[in-house]
């Protein structure tokens, strides 16, 4: 899989770095001073790198825990996100990462302990408030679990802070780590979902939607709390039928009581990201419906956005309590 590993000199001797390196016996290991030497140069091509990504192991220096964008959340007052990794195993056509980064290489920050210290401080600073920590937005943490052991390290950590919710956003059907631990009441395994026909075109390298639903059922039966994330909602010719069928399929398999939250939001990008994406996928019909608005955001026409949000909300209300619904926009 990975044939080149770049490792920062500062962390090459750490246990975590060595543990990860040992999983790629045939990879060429190259030492670097800072990850930016490899990750940041602007004249790199994301799509070409994506065909053969390298792994970069580095130490995160600052910005361990960040405020989630305003309006983003699943019911708590304070919302934060943290990223131990940039870039993803999967190759979804609409993914903002390919517009955001110059490099498709997997960048893993191995100093998990520093993240935990910062999260601990944040929890203690806002003792009285309910808060959620999101992960899996700059990568799919669960998909990379066999390499990083990130979730295996963070489940025991969050078990000490029951008031803080820990959301793992994923498309992965790897459930090994959830079999190893007892279900944690403050951990949400949040699945990104879209109609199967669209996923077959857009969610490249990711498990099929039916496999994701099967895995959700397995985890729910084990006692893990589930999040359903219809983000992004994708507009296409028969989107209403496709989404209705998707919702029906999910709730045929999963009991509503196992669902912690449901969120949805339509496709949108900053302008500069979108221009890169269009270059990468000139034949994508799904991207052809997007327009620039006066705030420099590329999104569907407002009427399409409203129609999609309202329709999906009303369809989902057939199966679930609307108090569990949240917007991703």
């Amino acid at each position: 899989m990975v044939d080149t590993i770049y490792v920062e000199d500062e962390i090459i001797g750490t246990k975590k770095a060595q543990e990860i390196i040992s999983k790629f016996r045939h990879a060429k290991v190259t030492s670097i001073k800072r990850f930016g030497e490899v990750f940041n140069p602007s004249n790199q091509n994301f799509r070409i790198q994506k065909t053969n990504p390298s792994l970069i192991l580095a130490k995160k220096q600052k910005g361990f825990v960040l405020d989630a964008p305003k309006g983003f959340g699943i019911g708590d007052q304070n919302n934060y996100y943290f990223s131990h990794m940039y870039n993803c195993l999967y190759d979804c056509s609409y993914c903002f990462l390919q517009g955001m980064y110059n490099s498709a290489n997997y960048l893993v920050f191995v100093n998990f302990h520093d993240y935990q210290n910062e999260i601990e401080k944040t929890i203690k600073r806002h003792k009285e408030k309910k808060m959620t920590f999101f992960t899996g937005y700059d990568c799919d943490s669960l998909a990379m679990e066999p390499i990083t052991n990130f979730i295996n390290d963070f489940i025991p950590f969050f078990s000490r802070y029951k008031k803080a919710l820990f959301e793992i956003r994923t498309k992965s059907i790897n459930n090994t780590v959830f079999r190893k631990h007892d279900p944690l009441t403050n951990c949400i395994v949040a699945y990104s979902l879209m109609p199967e026909a669209l996923a077959q075109i857009l969610d490249k390298k990711a498990p099929s939607v039916s496999a994701r639903i099967k895995n959700i059922k397995y985890l729910a039966n084990k006692g893990w709390r589930i999040g359903l994330r219809f983000d992004p909602l994708i507009y296409c010719n028969n989107w209403k039928d496709q989404y209705s069928e998707l919702f029906a399929n999910i709730f045929k398999e999963i009991k509503e009581e196992n669902i912690h939250s449901v969120s949805f939001g339509s496709l949108r990008f900053p302008k500069s990201f979108f221009n890169k994406l269009l270059q990468y996928y000139p034949n994508s019909e799904e991207l052809s419906f997007l327009r620039s608005n006066d705030k420099g955001i590329i999104s569907y026409d407002q009427s399409i956005e409203n129609e999609m949000n309202e329709y999906c909300r009303s369809e989902l209300m057939k199966y679930s309590d609307a108090r569990k619904f949240f917007s991703c926009g």
């Binding site: 044939d3 080149t4 770049y6 060429k28 190259t30 670097i32 001073k33 030497e37 490899v38 140069p41 004249n43 790199q44 091509n45 799509r47 070409i48 790198q49 065909t51 053969n52 390298s54 221009n275 269009l278 270059q279 990468y280 000139p282 034949n283 994508s284 019909e285 991207l287 052809s288 419906f289 997007l290 327009r291 026409d301 399409i304």
Partner: protein, 276 residues
């Protein structure tokens, strides 16, 4: 083999000395087209050029810059620095592709993209560029006198994925440098020419991917010739035509344009059509 009919082929070689370049010049049928300030060679059928830079980093930067301008190289051009080098880690005659470049003079390191190395089974190693011929080989790696200078400029004019530094080992600890003559170097290169071809083939495959990404959508030039578009209108037009091709592959966008339509009216027409 080079796909001569593919319009995106564009290759530039930067090589210090004639002895190192001779086999490449012969293999790709290049003829001399200039003598000063640097000897330059070119293939007449497709866009491949070669420059003899002379020894040293300054010459390498100057020659790369000169060739970039003289040959009107596009962004999507393959740049290869090829030549001999010394090492304590390899045998004489081995071909090495460089994956990290350091200099005895500068702090920054460079990392050629591993995409260019994929599946060719050629040894990979770091390069240390120095200012005078190395005899001691204190560190692991390959020593040369041009690679760093070449890469420091090439990375500004081409994507990382299309830049490659290739070295053939000519000297190891104990080698008498006075015995490395033109003839001996030519023999070393001729033995590796098939592997050099393989590296180039891989780079050409990457170039093709990039070319398809960067080219303008169908009818873009035609529409721009018919009407006066500002720079930002051209950006929008490019976007709309790309979306148009994906959405209405059987509809010709030229049919939407009526005579006397202004650039703004044309863009509005496309935008309205693409809305739903």
């Amino acid at each position: 083999m080079i796909e001569k009919n593919f319009e995106g082929v564009s290759v530039r070689w930067v090589i210090a000395l004639k002895g190192e370049a001779e086999e490449i010049i012969k293999n790709y049928g290049m003829k001399r087209v200039a003598t000063t300030p640097f000897p330059v060679y070119k293939n007449k059928d497709f866009d491949m050029w070669l420059i003899l830079s002379g020894i040293g980093q300054l010459n390498a930067v100057a020659a790369t810059t000169y060739l970039h301008v003289k040959s009107d190289a596009s962004y999507n051009t393959i740049w290869i620095n090829f030549g001999i080098g010394g090492s304590r880690n390899f045998k004489v005659g081995e071909l090495i592709q460089i994956d990290k470049i350091t200099s005895s003079d500068f702090q920054d390191n460079y990392y050629p993209s591993p995409s260019a190395f994929k599946n060719n089974n050629i040894e990979r190693c770091n390069l240390i560029t120095v200012n005078k011929p190395e005899k001691i080989f204190e560190n692991d790696g390959v020593y040369d006198m041009e690679g760093y200078g070449f890469f420091s400029f090439a990375k500004k004019i081409a994507p990382y994925e299309l830049i490659s530094v290739l070295k053939i080992i000519s000297d190891i600890p104990g080698t008498d440098l006075s015995k490395i003559d033109k003839h001996r170097v030519e023999i070393l290169v001729s033995k590796q020419i098939q592997f050099i071809e393989k590296v180039l083939e891989n780079l050409l495959a990457l170039q093709k991917i990039l070319f398809l990404q960067l080219r303008d959508p169908k009818y873009f030039d035609e529409i721009c010739l018919q009407n006066k578009f500002t720079f930002s209108q051209k950006v929008t037009l490019r976007k709309y035509l790309t979306q148009w091709q994906a959405r209405f592959p059987l509809r010709n966008p030229l049919d939407e344009i009526r005579q006397k339509m202004t650039a703004s009216q044309i863009l509005k027409k496309f935008s309205d059509n693409l809305l739903r």
